[in-house]
């Protein structure tokens, strides 16, 4: 396939994935708006007023970037995990496997769908947040980098999960037992400076902490850990995830017998 055909092939898959997100918007776009709206009401308005400022910002402003990031990564993950596993389960993944579409087009096409959903959901949460507070923007490029790189990383994670999954239950294990604990302990609702030393060290071993921290820096201009570590970590994990996904698709893990 020449470059133009590759582009068409990638665009078709991406378009299909985005159309899926929009078609089932009550399952993909509406839930984060409602869930995070409740978070803003409870943690921002009801409890937030009782909590003193963190690093110079009202509590609701402090938690907002974390909530956007949390929404983005969980939605990116679940989009690819669910879409790819459904394609495996209903066997319409064979439409792509029999075509000359290269492995990297398939991987990046599904990831693009996950990124689009993650970013849209993040934007929806940010828009909902505007009803409760002002959202400062310190550095838009930092925000964009962290949002896109995190969405991409967790789309790849969703793809890996779907490749290895044999039944629908298998794609809920990672969100339930890995993703949720890591996001809640990633400094979304607090600054790790408030934690005892041991918990602070444990938090530094949580990759999602760096995503929340760097993303929050893009809004508020404050951070708890090294931004460089966050950037390198995100870039590195994306490369590892991409290489692993490509390898597994090439070998046909979970796809070919």
């Amino acid at each position: 396939m020449n470059a133009y055909r590759l582009y068409i092939s990638w665009l078709t898959l991406t378009r299909k994935e985005v159309m899926r997100v929009l078609r089932i918007w009550t399952q993909t776009l509406l839930p984060p708006a409602i869930t995070m709206g409740i978070y803003f009401v409870v943690f921002g308005s009801f409890l937030g007023g009782q909590i003193k400022e963190i690093e110079g910002y009202p509590y609701i402003q402090f938690i907002l970037p974390g909530l956007v990031m949390m929404t983005c990564i969980t939605n990116s993950f679940s989009n690819v995990a669910s879409s790819f596993f459904s394609a495996k389960f209903m066997r319409h993944i064979e439409e792509m496997l029999v075509s000359p579409m290269p492995d990297w087009v398939m991987v990046t096409g599904f990831v693009a769908g996950g990124v689009v959903r993650g970013v849209i959901c993040g934007l929806i949460v940010a828009l909902v947040g505007l009803f409760f507070t002002h959202i400062p923007i310190y550095n838009f490029l930092i925000i964009a980098f962290y949002l896109l790189a995190s969405a991409s990383l967790f789309s790849l994670a969703g793809l890996l999960n779907a490749l290895m999954a044999r039944k629908f239950d298998d794609i809920s294990i990672v969100p339930t037992f890995v993703l949720t604990p890591l996001t809640y302990f990633a400094g979304t609702f607090y600054s790790i400076q408030m934690l005892p030393e041991t918990w602070k060290k444990i938090s530094l071993a949580n990759p999602i902490f760096y995503m929340v921290d760097g993303f929050r820096y893009g809004f508020l201009g404050v951070h708890d850990a090294s931004l460089m570590v966050g950037v390198v970590l995100l870039g590195g994990l994306n490369l590892v995830g991409l290489a692993l996904s490509m390898h597994m698709v090439k070998k046909g893990v979970g796809l070919r017998s």
Partner: protein
């Protein structure tokens, strides 16, 4: 020119099952080729390897001189595939199902749309274009699979049980469509449950069993190898049977039905002459099975085990 050239193709699944034991097969450009075999013979494995759905253990596969190991994408670009199992996104519309498939092959939106419309019209699915696939009947789903397999204009079309579950009328209309495409130059490789289908459509047949090709020859030659053919005769009245000889043997099924095993080379006139001499009045006559089926049973020797292709 060879459309397909398979050399010493082997497949052993991780459970240790040896599905293909060194298959050699050639299909010429423009042929309508049937691959027949009982359940578990290795047909679907072979097709799976050709289409990239199964990894081969060893061997060589070439499609129009393009090697599957060297340039799998070029091989795939030349193949259209209609699998045995339905493999749709049932929530997608018929239009999108075909149109997206064209896109996966790198066909731009305008051209993809033109081809999608043409195929949906040709296969009488145009009025269902906006419908989700789940709303289609079984026959419509089969036709949609065919449209999807043809949208990139492949040089070789692989059909795995294309008419399974279709009523006779639909099956026949699909035969006519496939014959037209074949006459227009499309090479077609078919597996089918209906041996009548292979006999009617295919000019070459290979019979596979237990991962090995038992016979690969033009259909006409294969049918010429039939040692005997069985006919069912409905009688006007209960009659005494003529005596058996080397050429024709009779069996009484019920008082008004007999079966006659007729040796290759004996004409129907000779059979009727024998019946006339024995004063047996025949109301009607039909072959018990189609000729290819008889040969198939003879070769595979598994009558009653569940024929399929």
């Amino acid at each position: 020119m060879e459309a397909l050239n398979i050399k010493q193709l082997r497949k052993t699944y991780s459970a240790g099952v040896e599905a293909l034991k060194g298959v050699d097969l050639k299909v010429e450009q423009g042929e309508f080729f049937a691959l027949l075999g009982p359940n578990g013979a290795g047909k679907s494995t072979l097709i799976g390897i050709l289409t990239g759905l199964v990894n081969k253990t060893s061997g060589k596969v070439q499609v129009f001189d393009e090697d599957l190991d060297v340039s799998p994408e070029r091989v795939k670009a030349q193949l259209g595939v209609m699998t045995q199992e339905l493999n749709f996104n049932i929530f997608e519309s018929c239009w999108n199902t075909v149109n997206f498939q064209a896109g996966y092959y790198g066909i731009d939106w305008k051209e993809a749309s033109r081809r999608t419309e043409q195929l949906l019209r040709d296969l009488e699915l145009w009025d269902k274009a906006k419908q989700p696939v789940r709303n289609l009947s079984g026959g419509m789903k089969r036709r949609l699979m065919l449209a999807r397999a043809l949208v990139h204009d492949p040089r070789v079309l692989i059909l795995d049980e294309p008419t399974a579950g279709l009523d006779i009328e639909l099956r026949r209309s699909l035969w006519v469509y496939l014959q037209k495409r074949n006459e227009a130059g499309l090479t077609i490789i078919l597996t089918t449950h209906y041996l009548e289908e292979a006999e009617a459509l295919c000019n070459r047949v290979a019979i596979i069993d237990q991962g090995t090709i038992l016979r690969d020859a033009p259909t006409r030659d294969l049918l010429g190898q039939l040692k005997k053919q069985t006919f069912v005769l409905e009688l006007v009245e209960k009659s005494e049977m003529p005596g058996d000889d080397e050429q024709v043997q009779y069996r009484i099924v019920d008082p008004l039905t007999i079966e006659a095993d007729v040796a290759h080379g004996i004409t129907m006139n000779e059979v009727f002459e024998r019946l006339k001499q024995a004063e047996v009045k025949v109301q009607s006559m039909r072959p018990k099975a189609n000729r290819l089926e008889e040969l198939f049973i003879d070769l595979v020797g598994k009558k009653g085990k569940g024929l399929s292709a």
